[in-house]
């Protein structure tokens, strides 16, 4: 099995994340206790989602400037992987919220915002499904993708900051950049973010190759 260096790096980082994430020492904080380990799994999902959706938007813009099928495929596949990360992020978040806030869904602004963000991208999938013509589908969904991303930014980064939230980092709750993210957490957290994001890139890479091969196959068949 021949893998390029960054794939080995992904494997190494994720192994490190899982092992160290489960075994390493973590600060003892009230209420959070051991659930703080979710930092290594839940938070990187959102980082990964944003980065991979950013890739998707970049390729959508590229497609609009230069309509190659490959650009469209990358945009589509990375949007799908972004959605997957978002769903995983919501699930891990709900699981965590069950033990710290008491409910799976407690009508928190951040939970709502992320649910709406996912709805936007589900709408993207629906939109793609409703075209027959390939070129038109690619162009119009690229337009929507850029538009949706622009709408997502205020949703995820501005709105939650205006309202009180139970989420760490808001309304005086123990947060993300404050004192409690100490060096032990950072040592696992940053590799975790890079690892999960690279995993997403890997999936996109594979799916894109598969789709490009499929298209070539159908064209020749």
């Amino acid at each position: 099995m021949k893998l390029t260096w960054w794939k080995w790096l992904t494997i190494a980082l994720l192994l490190y994340t899982v092992v160290m994430g489960m075994l390493s020492e973590v600060p003892r904080l009230a209420i959070l206790n051991e659930t703080i380990r979710n930092l290594y799994f839940h938070v990187p999902m959102w980082f990964g989602m944003i980065l991979i959706l950013l890739v998707s938007v970049v390729y959508s813009i590229k497609y609009l400037r230069n309509p190659l099928t490959r650009n469209d495929i990358i945009a589509y596949e990375s949007a799908k992987v972004g959605i997957l990360f978002g769903v995983l992020g919501i699930i891990t978040g709900m699981e965590w919220a069950r033990f710290t806030w008491g409910e799976f869904w407690s009508n928190d602004p951040k939970q709502n915002a992320s649910a709406i963000g996912l709805l936007i991208y589900f709408a993207y999938l629906i939109l793609r499904g409703s075209f027959q013509d390939h070129q038109q589908r690619a162009r119009i969904s690229a337009v929507y993708n850029v538009f949706a991303f622009a709408a997502l930014i205020p949703l995820l980064f501005i709105l939650p900051r205006l309202t009180d939230s139970l989420h760490p980092g808001n309304g005086g709750n123990p947060g993300f950049n404050s004192y409690d993210l100490d060096s032990r957490l950072r040592a696992v957290f940053y590799p975790a973010v890079i690892g999960w994001t690279l995993l997403g890139v890997w999936v996109v890479h594979l799916r894109t190759r598969l789709e490009v091969l499929k298209q070539r196959f159908y064209e020749n068949a």
Partner: protein, 213 residues
């Protein structure tokens, strides 16, 4: 661009239909709520008003592109630049939404009652809301009109995009209803303006690509 606006204005037969739509929706809400409770709580009043407006907006603006015949689209295409088209449509839709939402407010206040204490602030909110709805829905109706099932797609695409705007608007109008000092709503107003700017800019840049197909 002026010409485009006139062209838009000419197809205002849809307008009367929308007026009736607003009127009957408000009346249905009146019948279905007041009979049971005899009056509305303030948050319910507020939420109901914006939901009526949301549906009105989606219906009114969805017509914008879907109703155009192929020939007329081709005509626009040859006469004006795409930027002109999208701006004209946005301005027209904003004016349309403004009229509709003011009428809706008037009718709503007469039929269901008017708990608003700071009417000036509420009107500012309505203006911001009308512009915001119009700008984001114009682009989306352009996208949805290209696809097969326009009606469903319009709702599916627009609702999530509108939600941040809607939340801000509801908060602002709640402040106005309670008669709080305008400075309390300044944050929301600024965010709304910022969202509007983003949406208008993005539409302005993206619309030419949509137009070509």
């Amino acid at each position: 661009m002026q010409k485009d606006f006139v062209l838009e204005w000419r197809q205002k037969y849809a307008f009367n239909g929308m007026l009736l739509y607003v009127g009957s929706t408000v009346f249905i809400c009146y019948l279905s709520f007041s009979l049971r409770f005899g009056g509305l709580e303030v948050p319910v009043w507020n939420a109901l008003y914006w939901i009526i407006l949301l549906f009105t907006a989606v219906n009114a603006i969805a017509k914008g592109f879907a109703q155009e015949s192929r020939g007329r689209l081709l005509y626009y295409y040859s006469v004006v630049s795409p930027q002109g088209v999208i701006l004209a449509k946005m301005v027209y839709n904003a004016a349309l939404m403004l009229v509709l939402s003011l009428l809706c407010f008037g009718f709503y206040a007469i039929v269901i009652g008017n708990p608003v204490q700071d009417v000036g602030m509420f009107l500012v909110t309505i203006v911001l809301g009308a512009i915001g709805f119009a700008s984001s829905l114009t682009m989306i109706s352009g996208i949805a009109a290209k696809a097969a099932n326009t009606g469903t797609l319009m709702a599916v695409l627009s609702f999530p995009v509108m939600v941040p705007m809607l939340l801000m608007l509801m908060k602002m109008s709640k402040n106005a209803i309670d008669g709080l000092d305008p400075s309390v709503s300044l944050d929301e107003a600024l965010v709304l303006l910022a969202i509007n700017m983003i949406v208008v800019t993005v539409s302005y840049i993206l619309f030419p690509y949509l137009w070509r197909s």
